[in-house]
């Protein structure tokens, strides 16, 4: 891409505008970026147009033709076949519970480490950092074994417990650095008012840090929703599967025709897209939260 052109020097407004109109480089850059955007979006567009195409139209027009009429049977059949409503509910309830409990656990940990500055806090922080780095493969077999012993195998409860702890490891790490900067005057004022530690946490620390907690909640929810490996191992029966697991194991199923496979893709994209739109503002703020030191 040719983007080496000089930027206009700071000059009076009209000249800049005239230059804006005339400069061909601008449009080359824009065209290049639009082409790249199209390449990125194309797979999703192709999946979408084929999800609403009948197998007959697909056979005559191929994957790139627009469907002559909208055909919903692929989506409806797929939805009914895998009982998709159940999968959505499983994913939702798991992700939501993990997000709530994960934030709660992070807050308790970070309160002790960031504000309470308990002894050995550096080691606790190193522990939570390492816990973040661990590949799930190194935990999976004992967890699988222990959950069978405890009668929690193939149950959403095991997934909730495991992900609450895993997400809270990240949350503790992030939130501790936020709480270290917590304004001491507020804590002192609560002390003077005779508020206990639990009360201070609940009525001072949590409300003040609510934006950060919102970001954590969003992260935990989406991360848990998208998790694949541990749910694949733990949720073996149909009724317990989450959306990614159900879609992942159905792939290559001989009963799925071409357009139905496409429908399953679209059905998997839509919830993620919905969360993205709902949470976009929190997310773009939050993605960078981990980078700020």
């Amino acid at each position: 891409m040719t983007v080496t052109a000089n930027r206009p020097k700071t000059e009076p407004e009209p000249t800049v505008r005239a230059e804006k109109r005339a400069n061909p480089v601008r449009f080359l850059v824009l065209a290049g970026l639009l082409a790249l955007l199209l390449i990125i979006i194309a797979p999703l567009l192709i999946i979408t147009i084929n999800a609403v195409k009948s197998p007959a139209d697909y056979a005559s027009g191929g994957p790139l033709s627009l469907p002559p009429s909208l055909y919903w049977d692929g989506i409806v059949d797929f939805w009914n076949r895998v009982d998709f409503g159940q999968k959505l509910w499983n994913s939702f309830i798991t992700s939501f519970t993990v997000a709530v409990l994960g934030v709660l656990l992070s807050v308790l940990n970070a309160y002790a480490l960031g504000i309470g500055k308990v002894k050995g806090r550096l080691w606790f922080l190193v522990f939570f950092l390492v816990a973040n780095l661990l590949p799930q493969e190194v935990l999976v077999y004992p967890l699988y074994f222990l959950s069978k012993e405890a009668g929690l195998y193939d149950s959403l409860i095991s997934i909730v417990i495991i992900f609450t702890v895993i997400q809270a490891a990240f949350g503790t790490y992030l939130l501790t650095s936020v709480y270290q900067e917590f304004p001491t005057e507020l804590l002192d004022a609560a002390d003077v008012d005779g508020a206990g530690k639990l009360r201070t946490l609940w009525s001072v620390v949590v409300p003040v840090s609510r934006p950060t907690l919102g970001v954590l909640f969003t992260f935990f929810f989406i991360w848990t929703w998208n998790e694949f490996f541990l749910p694949l191992v733990f949720l073996v029966s149909n009724d317990n599967q989450t959306v990614p697991v159900a879609l992942g194991v159905l792939q290559g199923d001989r009963l799925m025709d071409v357009t139905m496979t496409s429908s399953s893709g679209l059905i998997g994209i839509l919830p993620a897209l919905l969360f993205f739109l709902i949470f976009q503002r929190t997310l773009t703020r939050g993605i960078t939260a981990g980078a700020i030191k």
Binding site: I40, I46, L64, L133, L139, V243
Partner: protein, 294 residues
């Protein structure tokens, strides 16, 4: 005011972490020194799993695959993302508008939000040898001879996965770098302008220099993500064809749950874990040194 007596708040976190992280971790490391099929008795065999591992060509193959995946998941997206973030921040936002810049950013980020199983469906569909859109497109433009079974042939499977992973990863560095650029003083760019610096000079001397903290964070997190990669391999290729796309985590998974060689699988995961932790320490050091120099 010295704050004391907060340790009770740590109790739930410590107990839960012991249960879900510490105990399983210790169990896996212990199991890696035993022979065990998951039921029955565990037999201590010392370092046998590890000596077997270092002689196993599949193990080495999985690691050389990972090197290429680090290229596709960390190196290429980070460099390309840096360039694109600079174009969006220092060109599009100024010559067009911020709305254009954030539109592109959201678009490039889109693949990041899609669950990995769905990525597998989307790309499995597009690259399918019989009905896939890519082969159809190639035929349409008269390049039908290039069409083949992208994910199903040992020669092209890994490269196809690499291409898909670049697609998945690209948005993350762009968002991170653009956020990092927000804290750059605009006067710096204006001053460089007045001195007649070209866009490329500003990119090299200002953007790249100032964005270093984010650069390290992105490079570490994406490299670790590449080392851990499981989902995309599971849904796209299952490690095949003939192990052409085998990666350590999938190799461990197969030993745990398909071959019932739990001890061997534990050894693989332990090596992977050690590698990730060592790499993180090295990166942290490099980052600290770079910061001290600045």
């Amino acid at each position: 005011m010295r704050r004391k007596g907060y340790w009770p708040f740590l109790i739930p976190g410590v107990l839960a972490s012991l249960l879900v992280i510490v105990v399983p971790l210790v169990m896996t490391v212990y199991t890696s020194f035993t022979k065990w099929n998951g039921v029955g008795e565990q037999r201590w065999i010392g370092f046998d799993n590890y000596t077997r591992l270092f002689e196993d060509s599949l193990f080495w193959g999985s690691f050389s695959n990972i090197l290429l995946l680090i290229l596709a998941m960390a190196v290429v997206p980070t460099l390309l993302g840096l360039f694109l973030a600079a174009v969006l921040f220092d060109y599009v936002a100024k010559k067009f508008s911020n709305r254009w810049a954030s539109l592109f950013r959201s678009g490039f980020y889109l693949p990041q939000i899609i669950p990995v199983a769905v990525t597998g469906i989307v790309w499995g569909w597009i690259l399918h040898p019989e009905y896939g859109a890519l082969n159809k497109i190639l035929e349409t433009v008269g390049l039908g001879s290039l069409a083949h079974n992208w994910l199903g042939e040992p020669g092209s499977a890994l490269y196809s996965v690499m291409g898909i992973m670049i697609w998945v990863q690209l948005g993350y560095p762009i968002v991170m770098f653009m956020a990092g650029l927000q804290r750059v003083d605009p006067e710096l760019y204006e001053a460089a302008d007045l001195d007649g610096a070209t866009w490329w000079q500003r990119f090299r001397k200002i953007t790249v220099y100032l964005i270093r903290p984010e650069f390290y964070v992105v490079l570490v997190t994406t490299t670790i993500a590449a080392l851990k990669i499981f989902g995309p391999i599971f849904v796209l290729t299952g490690g095949g064809p003939s192990n052409a796309t085998l990666v350590p985590s999938y190799f461990a998974y197969k030993n745990f749950f398909e071959k019932a060689q739990v001890g061997y699988g534990s050894a693989i995961s332990t090596v992977l874990t050690v590698l990730i932790i060592v790499l993180s320490i090295v990166f942290l050091r490099l980052q600290n040194r770079a910061e001290r120099k600045a």
